[in-house]
Amino acid sequence: MQLINKKNFLPIVCIVYTILSFSKIIFEIKLGYKDPNYVENFIMLFLMSLIATFVLSLHYYLQKIPLPIVILGQYIFLVGIIMLSIWIGGHLQNNASTAYRDMFWSFTIPYIIGAIIYYAVILFQIKKANKTLSELKKEG
């Protein structure tokens, strides 16, 4: 089953963007931080949502490749795109001296958390399926 297709691609991008934007706003309120590059960062978030959804949609076409390689490959590709966009952005405006490092961690930490959750869900589903299978067998 293809989870991300042409029909739901844009709605998924919008959902991801909304979640990220809300998380950013809530986080900033909690920390009392005022983002000096407010507009640029929101545009960046949208681009990130667009690229991340596109990369995740490729998941369907990479079924024969082992999952860890897919996850790692997608991570490297996305980090590359983000670094490239910061580099391009650096030509249009001044980047903060920690821009690359900040974006690296801002992306890497959620990605690792996401990957761990994904793996945990797989293991949980297998455990649940094994329980269901033994129940079905008992009942004949």
């Binding site: 089953m1 797989i122 293991l123 079905l136």
Partner: protein, 150 residues
Amino acid sequence: MKIFKYHEPDLEENRIDLYYKEIDDETENIIKYLDFYNKTLTGKNEDETTRIRPCDIYYCEVVERKCFFYLRDSVWQVDISLQTLLNQFGSAGFVRISKSMVVNIFKIDRLKTDINMRIKIILDNGETVILNRTYKSQFYQYLEKMRRVK
């Protein structure tokens, strides 16, 4: 629903009669189950032919447009498509695990992951087949559906 069992030693062949006022879900499931149990498929193997009961099938695979049924310790070619098999016996434990494979869930021993996070289906006879990631959620939904039906 009432069930009566009669022991008749002189009977030529075992028989089930089903009396109903109208076919409700319960009756329909019983009919489907009996149909499934009673139906056989013809399998070919070089110069041999045999009748195969769906409940004896472990998994089915399409290789070069030919459908093969894998039983406990034999393989038979059957003139049927996977879709037809699923339409006829889908409610009896058959679910797709990849584009070219269907497995009988009642023949599964357990699921297991390997280092590459591929989901392996270990069958009762020790054979292993791989659950394709694309069909994973469909497979789990089917298990849940079967659990609720049972």
